[in-house]
Amino acid sequence: MEELINQLKEQIIEALNLEDMTPADIDADAPLFGEGLGLDSIDALELIVLMEREYGIKLGNPAEGKKIFSSVASIADYVSKNRKK
């Protein structure tokens, strides 16, 4: 799981152009939206594309997405259970 969390952090940094950030700067349990990284709705769309492109996961239910994207750890948990590739 630790390896997947680090991989996700790197993919998020690249996909969202989080310049000057390293995986070590991201707290896996901190909120991604609002507080924490302070991501916005466009970032949410980028994360949905990332999940499908990298792990073959299609997110159709917005309510589900809110829970999954609450932190890097929650994304890693969902990916580990639902990944298609």
Binding site: A15, L16, N17, L18, E19, D20, G38, I42, L45, E46, V49, E52, R53
Partner: protein
């Protein structure tokens, strides 16, 4: 034209190839999604605004020949490679021509007139003409007018194929932004006397237009026609860059030029822009 306002260029900023450090004006969070052209546009726009002392313009009017070309290429490449699936929303948003003007408007919280002109090599002159007309008619008091274009490797190769005498690396890209106002504000206001765009002018028509604008011994800036054409080939924002250079050359010092006629040619169109330095007495 009696009773119309005058229109002055009161500040300007220009940047050439490369990336601008926009952190002087926006937060890292605001800058992180910006591509190269957006960073240059934001930097030059904010710099022109800062110099003018105006916080928020009445209008944002932008000229861009090709828009955010780099992002457009990436977006189209993704469409081809991914079978029209999994497209990045940021690239989609930033592949439209009016992204530049809208981004500037959002950052400035400017809810005024926001317009983008894409007219090839006379995009900037078209934007300038719009601002000039609106300020003279009293519709607006000031306007942020810019021109922003970027060249990708693919565009450089295409241009080189059309003009093998120019190396791909020699083609320039530039951003320029100006604050225009109805009052001669600032240290060195320059009156924008006339803006003309001629499409496919006959040699006689062009000669007449140049003569009418330089009747009082105005020196030509930028050029012979051949030089104007060569310049427009080399630089993606030649008309804006030429206006910026001409404004810098005008000086109240004795013996220095007090007015200029900027002529740029782009394809079948010719821009004529007449500039006159306002004397210290304001006349």
């Amino acid at each position: 034209m009696n009773g119309m306002n005058k229109c002055y260029i009161i500040s300007g900023s220009c940047l050439h190839d490369g990336e601008a450090d926009v952190r002087k004006y926006v937060t890292p969070g605001e800058a992180r999604r910006m591509c190269r052209i957006l960073k240059r546009a934001v930097y030059t726009s904010f710099e022109a605004l800062r110099q003018s002392g105006i916080e928020c313009p009445d209008a944002i009017i932008t000229g861009t020949s090709m828009g955010c070309m780099e992002n457009s290429e990436k977006f189209l490449t993704d469409i081809c490679r991914n079978g029209e699936q999994l497209l990045k929303p940021t690239l989609f948003m930033q592949s439209t021509h009016n992204t530049i003007a809208s981004m500037t408007g959002i950052l400035l919280k400017c809810h005024g007139y926001n317009m983008t002109y894409s007219q090839g090599g006379v995009s900037f002159t078209s934007a300038l003409l719009d601002a000039w007309l609106q300020i003279r008619a009293g519709e607006i008091s000031n306007a942020l007018v810019g021109c922003h274009d970027e060249l990708t490797d693919a565009i450089r190769k295409i241009r080189h194929a059309a003009h093998p005498e120019i190396a791909p690396a020699d083609f320039r890209e530039a951003s320029a932004a100006f604050m225009l106002a109805s009052e001669p504000l600032g240290d060195k206001p320059i009156e924008l006397k006339k803006v003309i765009i001629l499409h496919r002018p006959s040699p006689r028509r062009l000669e007449e237009a140049i003569r009418s604008l330089s009747a009082k011994g105005t020196p030509l800036s930028g050029c012979s026609e051949a030089e104007a054409e060569a310049e427009s080939l080399l630089c993606a924002s030649a008309d804006a860059e030429s206006v910026y250079s001409a404004c810098r050359r005008l000086s109240p010092l004795p013996g220095e030029p007090k007015s200029a006629l900027v002529v740029t040619r782009a394809g079948e169109s010719v821009s004529l822009i007449k500039l006159t330095l306002v004397s210290p007495c304001g006349c």
